[in-house]
């Protein structure tokens, strides 16, 4: 019926992501791993910006907090990665919740500026609190090992990242198609109406900040393990622009859009690395095109052109179907008679 519907396309992509990497060389494996990490970042950011409508700029800082927390817990306290990593995610989520508290009463530009200020402050802490963060030079994290599993570190980390990306992708898709997700969208589209229906604005804004912080924190932990190294420059304003570009290109307010945007931008940046200066030009042009002409992002295009890409904001059950009742049939008939 609709061979290119979303589910089919995603399953094929997943199959490729599972089968091909063992045969790929180190570099391709590295890029694939990067894609999985950025998918997590883009999904978290899209929940906050695309769905909940909070123009926040702290996601790169959250990414950094996840990376630093995971790395420092290993280096400073001697924890194993397997403990430090989830704790790092939780710390980033907690920081996300904490910064949401002052941000909750701010909207639009004011929210943007205050979260930007927070991001800059975080950057400053990474750079200058030498006693804990090792300062500008960054630090090496202990080598990760998947013993006793018979799998190399790069491949093991890739599959771990893929697993988390898939699980958290599904989690996000369920989340946005539920009463919680609809509360997010309600407060984006009309906060007055949302409140009048009993949606507690502060609570749902805080939740969106917390969830996006957790996604960014998990991505940060994976990134620290991928590079075996943590340093401040990876979590600066350019990182933030990169993530925003992913959700704009993929599609604001779309989980699958976050996936497509992250994949395309990471791969594009790698391909263009060969030619000096081209990265910036193509990247800029892409942003301009999408902002000016393709507001819905790639997903908007797919929804219009390909069947089966709709993203209903509810759990579509087969049991509840329109039993065309008599009233509605008469209504439909009168409507036809009118036109």
């Amino acid at each position: 019926m609709a061979p290119f519907r979303r589910r089919n396309v995603l399953l094929v992509l997943l199959a490729i992501a599972i089968i091909v990497p063992p045969f790929a060389n180190y570099y391709y494996l590295f890029v694939a791993n990067l894609v999985a990490i950025y998918v997590l970042l883009a999904i978290g950011l899209n929940i906050l910006v695309g769905y909940t409508g909070q123009l926040a700029f702290a996601n790169a800082a959250m990414f950094g907090i996840g990376a630093y927390a995971t790395g420092l817990l290993q280096v400073r306290l001697g924890w194993s990665f397997w403990l430090a990593f989830p704790v790092g995610g939780v710390i980033a989520a907690a920081v996300g919740l904490a910064i949401s508290l002052p941000a909750l009463r701010l909207k639009g530009l004011y929210l943007a500026l205050s979260t930007l200020a927070f991001a800059q402050a975080t950057q400053w802490v990474f750079l200058h609190w030498d006693a804990v963060t090792f300062g500008a030079g960054g630090f090496k994290t202990p080598p990760l090992s998947f013993d006793p599993l018979p799998i190399s570190k790069p491949l093991g980390l890739y599959y771990l990242s893929l697993l988390l990306a898939v699980v958290l992708f599904l989690f996000a898709q369920n989340l946005v198609a539920s009463r919680v997700g609809r509360a997010f969208i309600a407060l984006r589209d009309s906060d007055f109406a949302a409140e009048s229906l009993g949606v507690d604005l502060l609570r749902y804004k805080a939740l969106a900040f917390g969830v996006s912080g957790f996604y960014a924190g998990i991505a940060g932990g994976l990134n620290s393990a991928l590079l075996n190294f943590v340093a401040p420059e990876g979590f600066d304003l350019f990182q933030m622009v990169l993530q925003k570009a992913m959700i704009v290109v993929g599609g604001l307010g779309s989980i699958v859009g976050s996936l497509l945007g992250a994949g395309i931008i990471v791969i594009l940046l790698e391909v263009l690395r060969e030619v000096k200066g081209l990265q910036e030009i193509v990247f800029g042009a892409l942003l301009v095109i999408f902002v000016l002409f393709m507001r819905g992002g790639l997903v908007g295009l797919l929804k219009r052109k390909v069947r089966g890409w709709e993203e209903p904001l509810r759990l579509v059950s087969r049991r509840v179907r329109p039993k065309q009742s008599e009233t509605s049939q008469t209504a439909a008939r009168t409507e036809k008679a009118d036109s």
């Binding site: 007055f192 939740l207 509605s328």
Partner: protein
């Protein structure tokens, strides 16, 4: 003293030095349709904003079913059973008609974000119930054929009706309607008239209606309260109010005299 389902006692609101509401009293009984009229700037919308918790009065008390709601957040007041619509369309434009209605059931459902994200049983059960109720709400207003449309694709009149339906689906005790008839054609107006009566008679919901279309107010309201410059100048049955000299003077004057 508490009379009626919604009772407003001596409410004062100032914006800076401007006295927008000066000691308003209002008692609305269960099952009543109350009209709230008055010239522009009389304080009608301020009144709704105070009741629904968007504004906090400097003085006075408001009780809903015997509970004081002054100082509560709008969402808490909604939880206690107060619904409202707005002067301009406040539909969620990123959602379909059905999803808008399901959002109206927010306060009737409980599933948190883990329940949702991990697709636990509670989410599945609630989603199914919500969708069923949304279909029933669409049947009530005769709009089932628009279920899957984006909310903003509807005509102006349909958007107004959908907004009322979205408020009603959460089964509030009292609903505040801010100019539901604005911009409606004559036919639509008759439909709205019928709908408001059905809401009162079939759902037992108490309605408070701000309206400039005087004919609708006179026909549909059981009681009418007239505000002028932040004070209540008349209160009573529509017939009584329309003949009250102070009301005619304050506001209705030209239109009604011309008709007599």
């Amino acid at each position: 003293m508490n009379t009626g389902l919604l009772s407003v006692r001596n409410v004062h609101v100032n914006f800076g030095g401007m006295k927008v509401l000066q000691g308003i009293n209002l008692d609305v009984a269960q099952g009543e349709i109350r009209g709230l009229i008055g010239p522009n700037g009389a304080g009608k919308t301020t009144m709704l904003n105070v009741i629904s918790g968007i504004l906090r009065p400097q003085q006075g008390d408001i009780q809903l079913a015997g509970t004081s709601i002054v100082g509560l957040k709008p969402s808490q007041i909604a939880e206690l059973g107060l619904g409202r619509t707005f002067q301009t369309s406040q539909l969620f434009k990123g959602m379909t008609v059905l999803e808008n209605l399901m959002t109206g059931l927010h306060r009737r459902t409980r599933g948190g974000f883990l329940t949702a994200g991990f697709n636990l049983k509670l989410r599945q059960v609630e989603e199914e119930q919500m969708e069923e109720q949304a279909w029933r709400a669409l049947e009530f207003v005769g709009m089932t054929q628009f279920a899957e449309r984006t909310a903003t694709e509807l005509s102006f009149g349909q958007q107004r009706v959908l907004e009322i339906a979205r408020t009603l689906i959460g089964e509030p005790k009292v609903v505040l309607l801010d100019e539901p008839a604005v911009g409606l054609s004559a036919t639509r107006l008759i439909e709205l008239d019928t709908l408001l009566r059905r809401i009162r008679d079939e759902k037992g919901v108490t309605l408070i209606l701000i309206e400039h279309v005087i004919r609708l107010v006179m026909e549909v309201c059981d009681q009418v309260t007239v505000l002028s410059s932040g004070s209540c100048i008349a209160d009573g049955a529509p017939q009584m109010v329309r003949n009250d000299p102070s009301v005619i003077e304050a506001y209705l004057g030209k239109e009604l005299r011309a008709r007599h």
